[in-house]
Amino acid sequence: MAQEFLVGFRLSEPPRAGEALEAALSEAKASLEAMGVALKGWDYDGSERLLLVHISAPPELLERAAEGIARALSGTAGAEARLEKLSRDTFAPARSAVPSQPVAGFLLRAASGGLEGYPLGRDELLALLLFYFVGCDRERAILAAPFLGLDSDTVKDALDGLASKGYVDLAKGALLKPAERLLNAAIPALRARASRVVEGVRVVDEEGNVEVFSAEKLAASLYGSGVPQSLIPAILDSLSASLRGRSVVSKRALVAMVSALLEDLEPDAGAGVRFASYVYALDRVYVRVGASLSKPRWSFLRRLSREVLGERGLTPPPRLVELHAELLAREVRELVSSAPWGFEGRVLELEEVKRLAELAAPKVSVAWLELRSASAGELASEYWSRGVSGVRAAAESSDCAERKELALRGVLLLSSALLLLAGALPSNFVRVNLGALRSRLSKLPEDVRIGASRLCTLSAAVARSPAIAAPRESRKLAKALGELAEVAERLASAQRFIA
């Protein structure tokens, strides 16, 4: 069972630069993950040359984890690091006082919103949520309270009140049935407040391509065109109001609405023209291919994406090609939209666009980059072992958001390993990988197929599970993770490629 520890290192000399320490620890983080050890934070005291690293690991792996960190410090930061005895057993047992960021964010939002309509008062409901999210640990709840804008005494009194009302058992550190029922209803309802304002509106472009409206994508385009960040929320809010009740909108209308809003908000900045110019930048760009010029239409970009992503001898799934082409389009737009007031047209060399495509490739598939120095088999094996460790670590995590994060990383790695085995290039996205894997199940060896199919189903369930989970959802996720680990182990024993 993983526990939290502080590990100390005395550096023989100051690191070459502050960034060198960061880089070394980031490298160590990746290698520790493969062992099922999470590096959660660090602090460096320059005057003592003492580096404290916060890790979560099963006690039997502590020595190996410390060696891994020391190796990274020596290799990347150029500083010899001596393991420092921090406690009687070298490693100092520690415990996070405050829950992970997504959970803390949920509680902060809950505390700032209305909590009416529940059988408990506001303070009691907040205390109950906090108690549940810190693993039903009364002391931790009281200590964490001020970091979430709550008063420790209020939480303490509220917990005593909840105990007397039969909601919690403070001595055993457990939720009782009425609390579970309440949380099963309250958490999904409180979570739903964060759902997107505009949902399900389809956008049709000039070529007839249809996609679902994405506020994130629009925000990225606004940002890319140079619109001040401070204006972006106002634009998204106004646009949400305009789109309410519509099921479809043309891209041109959308661009027109946004341009008009920008002109209203900042009439002297020319931001409306710049935005439209950014969105339609591809219409005014030409790519020289041999003796002729081509417009970088979607078909052209997709072809180029497929070619670049296919350089490693693996087939890129169609959705991955699409994502890469979108990214490439953004890179091209940013390259040519640097003119302050639109532009008249620009010719790019094919090599230049290809270079942009290569730079964009790791952003959608880190495997594409890693396959430069490793074979597909080696990478699959590494991903598999890291994936299994990730799923196991997730199953042991007591913080629901942290568990979800570890689980997601685990299923991403497992699905990537299976895609590599099936001759396909994995992406950085679970959903894309699982879609691609389902369509390639028939290409997997027979002894893997059934397990891989089950792995897809379980992975999809894990990926869809909420990060801020109610008790019922939490149990469901724990069950799925348990089965996922079993399936992964069965697959490992069935398949020789998995070390």
């Binding site: 502080l6 602090d43 916060h54 921090l86 406690s87 520690a94 415990r95 008063d151 303490k156």
Partner: protein
């Protein structure tokens, strides 16, 4: 930010806050070399790593006198403090015993000639006694706490010049234990005496009191640029601290020294 730290069945209340540097009062003198080292360290640092522990009622500095003095000398207007109710029984007060190695065959009567040394039975010492242990046990009579510590300073200077610098250990750990060489045991003060001396500006010698606060925040890393300003926005300070995610580290923790208390490490 007010913190309630669970300690078994009880809670210790702490408050992390900025304090005006001129409104705090030391109760011990500083060691000049140590002060210079810290001033040099602060001059190149961007953070105050650990808050100074002060009494919430009086502003008496309980732990961190050198850091306070270094920051004051460097012109800081504010300092990050951890306020604690000094009179809370959870906060313990002991004194630091001085242990000297004896070279040659000097007797304690020769070493401390001129001081009144009353032989005492082993085990008959009370925590209020100023005592010397050198094979046998001796009590040194005194009138007031201030006088006792004036004697401690003089005896320490004499013994240090003859035997070299002492090592410091908790008085509690020396009482009843076998002592090699010479041990000088300053009396254990009462908290009210410490506060009274501090209020009057009567500073005790360095390493007089040994405060054990059962929970201690560390690694808060408050940017020094915040503490240099004439005016400090307390809300901003609070929010800065609130974004941290402390770790509760079980004792003992060995860093620059051994910490026997629960540490809240704001990594």
């Amino acid at each position: 930010m007010k913190l309630k730290v669970p300690l078994g069945q009880r809670y210790l209340e702490l408050e992390l806050a900025p304090a005006k540097i001129d409104e705090l009062h030391p109760h011990e003198e500083v060691i000049p070399e140590h002060l210079e080292r810290l001033k040099a360290a602060f001059a190149v640092s961007v953070y105050q790593r650990n808050p100074i522990i002060v009494d919430s009622r009086t502003g008496c500095v309980l732990d961190g006198t050198h850091r306070w003095a270094a920051m004051k000398a460097l012109g800081f207007k504010w300092v990050a403090v951890c306020r604690v109710d000094y009179l809370d029984p959870l906060v313990e007060l002991d004194s630091w015993a001085r242990l000297y190695r004896v070279k040659g065959g000097l007797s304690v009567e020769e070493l401390l000639a001129g001081y009144e040394l009353e032989p005492a039975a082993p085990g008959a010492l009370s925590e209020r006694d100023l005592a010397v242990i050198a094979g046998a046990v001796y009590k040194v009579p005194y009138g007031s706490a201030w006088e006792a510590y004036r004697k401690v300073r003089e005896m320490d200077e004499r013994l240090s010049s003859l035997l070299g610098k002492p090592s410091y250990v908790a008085r509690l750990s020396v009482e009843g234990a076998r002592v090699e060489g010479v041990a000088l045991l300053p009396p254990r003060l009462r908290k009210e005496e410490v506060l009274e001396l501090s209020r009057k500006g009567l500073l005790l010698p360095p390493k007089s009191t040994r405060h054990v606060v059962p929970a201690r925040p560390m690694g808060v890393n408050v940017p020094l640029k915040l503490l240099r300003a004439d005016l400090l926005d307390a809300e901003l300070f609070d929010e800065y601290i609130r974004q941290k995610r402390p770790l509760v580290v079980k004792p003992p923790l060995l860093l620059d020294r051994e910490y026997g208390e629960t540490i809240l490490y704001f990594s």
